[in-house]
Symmetry: C2
Subunit: 510 residues, 2 copies
C-alpha cells in the first residue's frame, strides 16, 4: 500500500479548459489538463501547432506511464479550434501562452476576456511581464493573474501565481485550488515584480554563468557538472534557506547568516555589469554545448531528462519514511486522491479472474540488458494484492485501525519477460478463503497481445497488527469476499496453481 496524508488544501476540479498558444509551454499545459481528465480546446494559428502539441503530449503520456501506476482519469478531449472565440467560449480556465511581447499579450488577453464565460479564470504563462500591465485591456481584470509554469510543464509541478493591482483575492484562491486539483503546486507570490521569483533567481545565476564562460574560468560542461554534482542534488528536495539552515548547524539560521553575511561584501561576482551576449560568445557556448551533448539529440535528452525527473519524483515520494517530501509528497497526495476517486469497481465482473492492475514496465525496473528485474514482478503482484484488499474494504483506514492481511507464503513462476515500456495487466483468481486465510492466484500479462509472463500464488493471513497474531476477518470483509470466492469456485482451477498446499480449514467459500 502506498501512503496518504490528510491535506488541508482546497481543491476545485474543472472539466473544461482553453489554451491559447500551443508551443512547448502551451503544449505542456495542454498535456497537464488532458491527463488530469480535463477537456481542452486549443487555438494557435501557427502551422506547426498540432505537431508540436502532439509531440509534447506523447512525451507527457510516456512520462506519466512511468511515473504512476494509479489509474489516471480518462484522458480529456483535445480539440483544435479555428478561432480564439471558439476555443474559450465554454472554458472554466483559459491559459494564455503566446510569445513574450506586452502588446501581443494585451491584445490576446483582451479578446479572451471579451469572449469567454463571465466566471472563467484567465491565467497568463508570462515569465516576466507584470500582471497589472496585462490587465489594462480587460473589462474584467479581477479574474486575470499570472500562472507561470516551468518546462517540462507536465512533470515540474511549480506554478507561480501572481496577481496584479486589479486581481481579486478570490481569483488567486480559486486558481490555486484548480492547480492543486490537477497535482500542480500553485505558489502565491505576495507582490508583483518583473520576472517574479523563480526567473529572478535564474537570471542572477545565468548572468554569472555567462561571465564564467566568457572569461574562460570553465566551459559549459564543467559549469553544469558543478551544479548537478553538488547543490543541484540539494535543491531537488530543499531550497536555499532550508539547506542553509542545516548548514548553520544547531545554532540555526541566524548563526549561519552571521557567518555568511560578510561574504556578500567580497568582490565575488560580476554583479555590476551585464555580459554582452555577442556573436562570439553565442558561438563559444553553442560549440561547447554541442560537445557536451556528445551526440545525444534533443529528443534523446528530453527522454533522459523526463526519466530522471520521474525517478527523482518517485524517490522523493518514498522519502521522509514513505510520508513523502516536497514534490514527491505532492505526487503521493495526488495519487492518493486519484485512487480514492476510482469508482468502486462498478463494472467489475466477478465471474472471471478480477482485472486489478494496469501499469507499465518503468525504466527503473529493467537492468542494463533491458530485462525486468525479478523483484519488480513481485512489486506488481503486491500492487495487485493492494487492489484486491481495497476492493474488500481493507484500505488504509482499516490498516490504521489495527488489522490487515499479511502475506505468509508466495510461489512465483516466470514464464516470459516484460520489456521496457510494455503495458502490464494482472488478474486475480481466489482459490480459497476461510475466516483467517486468503489464498489467491495472480497472473501477469504483458503487451497488447496479453502474453502471460508470470504467475504468483499467495497465502495471506488476517492479523491483529497490534497483538501481532492471526485474527478472524470481520463480517464486513467476509461479506465482500464471499461472493467473489463463490463465483471463482465455479472457474477452472488455474493452471500452475498448487505451489502452496491448501490448509485444513480452507474451503472455496467460507
Amino acid at each position: 500500500m502506498t501512503h496518504t496524508t490528510a491535506s488541508t488544501t482546497a481543491f476545485a476540479p474543472i472539466t473544461r479548459a482553453a489554451c491559447i498558444g500551443g508551443g512547448v509551454i502551451g503544449g505542456g499545459w495542454i498535456a497537464r489538463f488532458l491527463l488530469a481528465g480535463i477537456d481542452v480546446k486549443v487555438f494557435d494559428p501557427h502551422p506547426d501547432a498540432q505537431r508540436i502539441v502532439g509531440e509534447v503530449l506523447a512525451n507527457a503520456e510516456r512520462a506519466y506511464g512511468l511515473l504512476t501506476s494509479v489509474p489516471l482519469p480518462p484522458r480529456g478531449r483535445l480539440t483544435f479550434c479555428a478561432t480564439l472565440e471558439e476555443a474559450v467560449r465554454d472554458a472554466e480556465w483559459v491559459q494564455e501562452s503566446v510569445p513574450e511581447r506586452l502588446d501581443l499579450k494585451q491584445r490576446v488577453l483582451g479578446e479572451i476576456d471579451a469572449t469567454c464565460p463571465a466566471q472563467a479564470l484567465i491565467g497568463s504563462s508570462t515569465s516576466g511581464l507584470l500582471p497589472s500591465e496585462l490587465q489594462t485591456t480587460l473589462t474584467h481584470p479581477e479574474r486575470l493573474f499570472v500562472a507561470h509554469p516551468y518546462n517540462p510543464v507536465y512533470l515540474l509541478p511549480l506554478v507561480e501565481i501572481v496577481g496584479g493591482r486589479a486581481t481579486a483575492p478570490a481569483t488567486i484562491a480559486r486558481a490555486k485550488a484548480v492547480l492543486d486539483a490537477i497535482g500542480m503546486k500553485g505558489v502565491v507570490i505576495a507582490r508583483e515584480i518583473e520576472a517574479f521569483v523563480g526567473d529572478r533567481l535564474l537570471e542572477a545565476l545565468w548572468r554569472e554563468a555567462l561571465w564564467l564562460i566568457k572569461d574562460d574560468i570553465c566551459d559549459v560542461e564543467t559549469l553544469d557538472d558543478v551544479i548537478r554534482y553538488s547543490f543541484g542534488l540539494r535543491w531537488a528536495q530543499m531550497g536555499l534557506f532550508q539547506t542553509y539552515r542545516i548548514a548553520g548547524g544547531e545554532a540555526g539560521m541566524r548563526h549561519f547568516l552571521a557567518q555568511f553575511g560578510p561574504c556578500l561584501q567580497w568582490p565575488w561576482t560580476k554583479l555590476t555589469d551585464v555580459v554582452d551576449l555577442d556573436d562570439a560568445l553565442v558561438e563559444k557556448i553553442g560549440a561547447q554545448s554541442d560537445e557536451q551533448a556528445a551526440g545525444l539529440s534533443i529528443r534523446e535528452l528530453e527522454r533522459i531528462r523526463d526519466e530522471n525527473l520521474v525517478g527523482i519524483l518517485q524517490a522523493l515520494k518514498t522519502g521522509h519514511g514513505d510520508r513523502g517530501w516536497g514534490a514527491g509528497k505532492l505526487l503521493g497526495d495526488f495519487e492518493a486522491r486519484l485512487a480514492a476517486q476510482v469508482a468502486p469497481a462498478p463494472a467489475l465482473d466477478i465471474t472471471a479472474p478480477l482485472e486489478l492492475v494496469e501499469t507499465r514496465v518503468s525504466p527503473a525496473w529493467v537492468d542494463y540488458n533491458g530485462h525486468m528485474t525479478e523483484h519488480r514482478y513481485l512489486q506488481v503482484f503486491g500492487d495487485t494484492t493492494d487492489a484486491l484488499l481495497r476492493l474488500i474494504g481493507v484500505d488504509i483506514a482499516y490498516v490504521q485501525a489495527g488489522h490487515s492481511y499479511y502475506t505468509v507464503e508466495t510461489h512465483l513462476r516466470h514464464l516470459d519477460e516484460g520489456k521496457l515500456g510494455e503495458e502490464l495487466r494482472s488478474t486475480c483468481q481466489i482459490i480459497a478463503v476461510d475466516d483467517k486465510r486468503l489464498h489467491v492466484f495472480y497472473r501477469l500479462f504483458a503487451g497488447p497481445e496479453r502474453r502471460e509472463i508470470a504467475t504468483a500464488e499467495q497465502m495471506m493471513l488476517h492479523v491483529d497488527t497490534k497483538a501481532g497474531r492471526a485474527s478472524p476477518s470481520p463480517e464486513p470483509v467476509m461479506a465482500r469476499l464471499r461472493p467473489i470466492a463463490l463465483a471463482h469456485a465455479r472457474l477452472e482451477p488455474p493452471a500452475g496453481a498448487g505451489g502452496i498446499p491448501a490448509r485444513r480449514k480452507e474451503t472455496a467459500a467460507a
Copy 2:
C-alpha cells in the same frame, strides 16, 4: 545485477590521509576517507572536535548503509592527534579545513608543507580564497591546490579542483585521480578566481534571494518551494546549459541564446546593489526559517536531507536505461569498482550455507507503517543470487557474452519482519545442481540477533540469452559450483525447503 560501464578515468588510491580541522566540512572529508578504507589522522585543537567528527561520521555511516549494498572496504582507522605534525607526518593527502581567514590558512598550510612527506598532496577546502595566495608560505607550493567540497561532503560528490600560479599540472592530475578513486567527482576549474565556480553561482542567486525576502516579494518558504518544485528538480540531473539546450528545442543552444539573450537587458534583478544584511533582515529571515522548519530539528532535517539525497542518487543510478546518469552514474561506477575489488571469497566457508549479502532496511523499503514492503525481500534475495552467480563466474562479462542463469520459480516464506534501518544478512544453501539447473535455498536474517525473517527457494536455469533457450552450463562454471554443491550435500536439508519439487535429472552434485 547492477550495471557497470568502462571508464577512462585514472584512479590513484591512497591509504593514509590527514585532515587539519574537523568541523562540518573537515568531518565530511574524514567520513569520505574512512568509508573508502583510508586511514585518517586528524588535528583540530577545538574542544568539541571529536564530538562533531563523531556526529558527522554517524550520519555518513547511516547514509552509506542506505546508499549501497556493495560491500565497502574495511573502514579506515581514525586517529586524533595532539599536534599537526603528528597528523601529517606519513600522509599521502593532507586536507586543510580551518576557518576561512587568509592569514590563518597561510600559517597552517606553511606548517603542513614543512612537516608532511615531500610527495604528499595538500588540498585546501577554502570556498573562496585564491590558491596563488595560499601558496605564498610554502617551500613546495607546486603541490598545493584548492579541493573545494560541498556539504554534506560524504554524499555530495563534487570537489572543485583549482590550481594556483605555482601548482604543478601533475598535482592537479593526481588530485583528480585520488578523488575519483574514492567515488568523488573532481572537476578541474581552468582559471583561479575568488569563489571559483559553484560559490560564484550560489552567491549571485543568494544576493537576489535576500532582496526578494527583504522587499517582501515572498517569504523563505515560498522561495524554497519555487526552487524545489521547479528548477531544483532539473538541476539534480542536468545543469544550466544542458537544460537550456533542451529548452531551445531542435534548433539547439544558439537558438535559445538568441531568444533569451535580450532578457539580460531587462531590469530584472537588483544586481547593481548589495543588500544590507542588518539585524532586522537577519531576524526576519530567522523567524521565517523557524516557521518553515515546522518544528523539525536540525538533526531531523539532516536525516531527511540525507535520505532524500540517497533516494535521488539511487534514482539517477538506474537512470538512462540503468546506464546511470550524472551523480548516479558516478555512484554506479564506484560500486562496480568496489564489487570488482571484493576479494574472491578468500575466507568463504563452503561447509556451511554461504554468507553472501549484508545490507540494511532502507527508508525506501518501508511503507507508511514502517513495514518492509514484500517485493524488497525478493530484492535482497535477488542480490543474493547476483552474489552467488559472481562467485561461480557468472559476472557481467559472462552475461554480456550471451549466457546467464534465469529464475524460473521462486517460493517465498515470510516468518517475521524487517524494520527500518535494521541490518540484513542472507545465506545461500545449494540444494541441487545439474548441467542446466541450479536449485537454491536462501534465508534472510535481521538484526544483530539474526532473527530469521524470510526464506526463498529458487530454481534457476542456465540459458543462451541470444537463442532464448536453456543451454548447459560450461565447465568453468560447473567447476566452481561443484565443490560448493558437494559440501552442501552434507548439510541438513533446510527446514522450510520443498516448495519447489526436485527435477528428474537433478542431483546434489552433477
